[in-house]
Subunit: 280 residues, 2 copies
């Protein structure tokens, strides 16, 4: 599993790096970004936060816009930001190049339907292949947490809830909490998973939190002026499912904030300090 | 002088806003961004930092990538980020659309040559029209400081040195300090100002600091792995001219850092705290 460095920028005493590699789970070449805090230059192994981005993003948006490096440098946490779908000329895109299906919109599931199944195996990539690659190639411990935004918030909640043994804590900004009941999720799941809706439930955070036994620490950040809050995010179903299962989720709601990276940047510090408690 | 809002994102309790207006000095429509810290919602008028961006940027790069809002919110400073050239279909661009001439490359001068002179009057826009517009439309005091990056560092140094009565302090990241002696500056000045090099000196920071009488507080941040340091920035000429005139400039040099916004984000806090001392 070889990786090739394609960018390196010093940032807050550490390095914001970018690599490419051939992803066997996705059958294509992928880029990822990784922030390595200054502690690694002293020979210290650091824990990792995986941050999954939203629709239309790639591995660079969070690195450039979330202002997370200052706090990651202070806390000694590496941050890995994967791309949001398989990529490359050979990878199927939506026939109309819609922003919410195909490239940039992998939805962190394993597609079972054609023409998607060959490449769109983002769940396996994030849960299995990528962390293994990171642990083989960087000075990191095996402690990891997961966070994400919007579609990536759905990814972080669903992956964290399905694999509690792998993560120390879970968080999300503006997550799609109940994809089986919103337009974005229904479109993606129908394409990637097919018409049988029973297969969709395995990736629905509101279903997963209702049956979770191992209750990882979890926080969710919401902007109350988020333009997608009502139609797409499904937070009420999520809160009610969590309550039913006595899963204590710290949900913070903020007046005036929207769905943008300006919102993420305003509250990323609280999330990094939250994860640091459990990654120690 | 009317302005029209085109975006607003809540950020660290304040607002990252974007406006458009018709710029009479530039004969075109322009966008600018302004961060208004939370203090203005309590009816407090705040001072303003003008931040001039570099080649290829527009008014949004600094707002999205420099991570300045957290500190501006704490200190109660508004930050105005103008575009880097006149814009629009009617505005002359370089015939080969080079990144270092024409659109995105106004160099903060008043062009005297054709076909540039009609629109490329960025010096007048930044010194005169824009601050007047800001003071008429936003809850700001008349206290202002100026900073910038690369081509915008040249803009901040030259404009600040030429107009010490207008600013409280000056700073720059990776500035083009001696444009009359580097490829970027020579190409721009020859096009915008013509072949007579005596006219170039009025915009050269190393010339201007040699004759400055009113010595404003000034700091300059440099990355020692900046890929443009040797060929384009001309810091040695600037340091020697400042020394000759006994102008005390705080120049900080950092190993490993490059020319990118990751460098700016790492050190913007020190610049905002520096300006805040003189804007109080």
């Amino acid at each position: 599993m070889s990786i090739e460095q394609i960018a390196a920028n010093k940032s807050f005493g550490g390095w914001q790096n970018r690599f490419k590699h051939t992803a066997s789970s996705l059958n294509c070449e992928m880029n990822f970004s990784i922030y390595l805090p200054p502690q690694v230059e002293d020979g210290i192994k650091v824990p990792v936060l995986y941050f999954l981005s939203g629709l239309t993003c790639n591995d660079e948006n969070f690195a450039q816009k979330a202002a997370a490096q200052r706090i990651a440098a202070e806390l000694g946490i590496a941050i890995v930001t994967p791309d949001t779908s398989p990529r490359g000329d050979g990878v199927t895109d939506d026939k109309d190049a819609a922003y919410d299906l195909g490239l940039g919109a992998g939805f962190y599931v394993n597609a079972t339907q054609q023409p998607w199944a060959k490449h769109y195996q983002m769940y396996d990539y994030i849960v299995g292949e990528l962390p293994k690659l990171i642990e083989q190639n960087f000075p990191v411990t095996d402690k990891k947490s997961i966070s994400g935004h919007s579609m990536g918030g759905h990814g972080a909640l669903s992956i964290g809830l399905k694999n509690p043994q792998d993560y120390a804590s879970i968080s999300a900004f503006s997550p799609i909490c109940n994809p089986i009941n919103c337009p974005w999720g229904q479109k993606a799941f129908e394409n990637y998973l097919g018409a049988d809706k029973t297969t969709w439930q395995a990736y629905d955070a509101s279903r997963l939190i209702a049956i979770a036994e191992h209750k990882l620490p979890m926080m969710v950040e919401l902007g109350l002026d988020d333009q997608f809050l009502e139609e797409q995010l499904g937070i009420d179903a999520f809160i009610s499912a969590a309550k039913q299962n006595q899963y204590d989720v710290n949900i913070a709601q903020h007046k005036g904030y929207d769905h943008s990276y300006f919102f993420i940047a305003s509250f990323i510090e609280a999330h990094l300090r939250f994860h640091a408690k459990y990654l120690a």
